[in-house]
């Protein structure tokens, strides 16, 4: 049908391109000004900030904490999410829709509210600690605030719903008949997991891990709230350095480092997904 569809592209493209280009240009440019503190910046373009980031142990440690917590959260999301995704994907009854709805609901509620719930659950005389102390698993109350375990738990609350939905679409591409065939030929449940589901979902799972890792790297809210001013990741540091120290250039520099690392990981996962899609292994 002869319609000039490309005309429709023009307005959104102008708006989209202007916003992307202008915002990224202005902030990347800002990262090259020397930071004089209190919002004042030098007027020459220098790489001072980047040198400071790469040589100062303080910033490098933050980078390391970000990578570590993100990797842990991505792995835990996989471990906690895979069985659920498998269950929903293989379920035949209408329960699967209800279970899916539960996942979707959880992704729609702002993480701040979920952290409120975590505060109550993990408070010293809250449900979790009272139970754990009563059955003697812990000898002192366990806190999720201001430590890396808490940050990982917060990040998981941010990624688990998304992770399950992604894994669900990966598992759906593995035909159930393969599992039945293996079982008919005498494989037990573990062998089916180990020889069929694991190898067939491996490429999709790798892509999912990269995506979730990326989300965690850029996650601000959960890391900031559960870090409680004691654990710093790159996004938390950006907000702190801009709003409390009022160092705009340094904040922009950290943001640029974060952006570049996230984009590299993204390109990697896009490349991986394209290879998979070509091989008809995932439908995401």
């Amino acid at each position: 049908m002869w319609v000039r569809w490309w005309i429709l592209l023009i307005p959104p493209l102008i708006v989209g391109f202007t916003l992307v280009a202008a915002s990224q240009f202005v902030f990347l440019r800002a990262s090259f000004f020397e930071d004089l503190g209190l919002g004042r910046v030098g007027d020459e373009l220098v790489i001072e900030n980047y040198v400071q980031f790469l040589t100062d142990g303080f910033y490098l440690k933050i980078l390391w904490v970000t990578v570590k917590t993100s990797a842990l959260a991505a792995l835990s999301t996989l471990i906690l999410g895979f069985p659920v995704a498998y269950l929903i994907a293989r379920m035949r009854s209408s329960w699967s829709m209800i279970l899916l709805a539960g996942i979707v609901v959880s992704t729609f509620i702002t993480i701040v509210i979920k952290v409120y719930g975590l505060i109550v659950i993990f408070s010293a005389n809250g449900l979790f600690n009272q139970t754990m102390l009563a059955i003697g698993l812990f000898d002192k109350p366990f806190s999720v605030f201001g430590n890396e375990t808490g940050v990982v738990i917060g990040l998981m609350h941010f990624t688990l719903g998304f992770g399950v939905l992604l894994l669900y679409s990966i598992i759906q591409t593995i035909p159930k008949s393969l599992e039945s065939a293996a079982q008919i030929h005498g494989a037990n449940r573990w062998r089916v997991y180990y020889r069929i589901i694991f190898p067939l979902s491996l490429p999709g799972v790798t892509a999912m891990l990269l995506m979730v890792f990326n989300m965690c790297m850029g996650a601000f809210t959960s890391a900031a709230l559960l870090g409680g001013g004691l654990v710093f990741t790159l996004p938390v540091m950006i907000q702190r350095i801009v709003m409390m120290d009022i160092k705009y250039s340094m904040g922009a520099t950290i943001a640029a480092v974060l952006l570049v690392s996230v984009i590299i990981i993204n390109l990697l996962s896009i490349y991986l997904l394209r290879r998979l899609r070509a091989a008809h292994l995932v439908v995401v």
């Binding site: 319609v3 569809w5 429709l8 493209l13 984009i263």
Partner: protein, 287 residues
């Protein structure tokens, strides 16, 4: 005998698998259940006791204690999310149509530009827009941060890709022969579009609008830079309330937000079905 042990093994296996999955669900949903439950506590001598779960009493006392600041923030968030969702559709639907239907060169690049906000961490978007608004302000004298324009621009930026994504997903599966059939039977291309194509892609639009609304409604990292004192979105307001004055009334307003989100999800689910909502693209929360 062997048959019995096999059955037993299977039953035990199922039990532990079910248990494992329930733990995942408890992990995922318990914070929300606890927030709703805690909000029903009655007034107590010390504030600490009002945070007990399960609640000691059933009372709506804390709902009457929600500070005005939070109500204002909630209203602002609602207006902002509606604006972001509408503008997201106005930009996203033509973008998706143009992307799928036209054959302009450099389509991959164009779609990468539309998808760029998803790739940029939200906190980076926040600081980038703040710097952009400072820069525009220095040039023109009008500073957009802390105003509805600034907030709306930031949220339209992060919300639009969701609409592009959902509508593209539907359009790619749309059989163009339906449209051709309408034209062959005498419909003008315009009529064919509005009577055939648009109704088919509407589920994608609804889903995209819902995602866009939710992204804006629950965003902290962008709004934290673009809000100003007295002009704050709800998530940012309660983000700071956590550090300053953690009161049981927070649980009450948070419960209201959970209810709003559930109602919206239910509404969209009724219109297009949960299945369609998921098929057009995974939801991806913000944080």
């Amino acid at each position: 005998m062997k048959f019995v042990t096999y059955r037993l093994q299977k039953a035990i296996g199922r039990f532990f698998f079910g248990l494992y999955c329930s733990i995942s669900y408890i992990f995922l949903l318990s914070p929300m259940v606890v927030v709703i439950g805690t909000s029903l506590n009655g007034p107590t001598e010390n504030v600490e006791a009002s945070f007990t779960f399960p609640p000691d009493s059933f009372s709506l006392y804390w709902y009457t204690q929600i500070p005005e600041g939070q109500i204002d923030a909630l209203l602002l968030s609602f207006v902002l999310a509606t604006v972001a969702s509408l503008c997201g559709c106005l930009l996203g639907v033509p973008a998706a149509l143009g992307l799928v239907r036209s054959n302009v060169p450099g389509k991959a690049l164009i779609s990468a530009i539309f998808r760029a906000p998803l790739q940029i961490p939200a906190i980076v978007t926040g600081i980038a827009f703040l710097q952009l608004f400072y820069w525009i302000g220095d040039l023109t004298g009008f500073y957009w941060q802390g105003s509805i324009i600034g907030l709306a621009l930031g949220h339209i930026f992060i919300a639009t890709p969701y609409v592009v994504g959902t509508v593209t997903a539907i359009l790619q599966r749309f059989d163009t022969r339906l449209e051709e059939a309408a034209v062959i039977h005498g419909a003008s291309p315009r009529r064919a579009f509005f009577r055939v194509t648009l109704p088919v892609i509407m589920p994608g639009v609804y889903a995209g609008a819902l995602y866009a609304f939710m992204v804006s409604f629950s965003d902290v990292p962008v709004a934290i830079f673009l809000s100003s004192p007295g002009f704050v979105t709800y998530p940012v307001e309660i983000f700071f309330a956590l550090e300053n004055d953690f009161e049981p009334s927070l649980m009450a307003s948070a419960t209201l937000v959970i209810i709003i989100c559930l109602l919206l999800l239910l509404l969209v689910q009724k219109v297009i079905g949960l299945d369609a909502l998921l098929k057009v693209g995974g939801s991806r929360g913000v944080g």
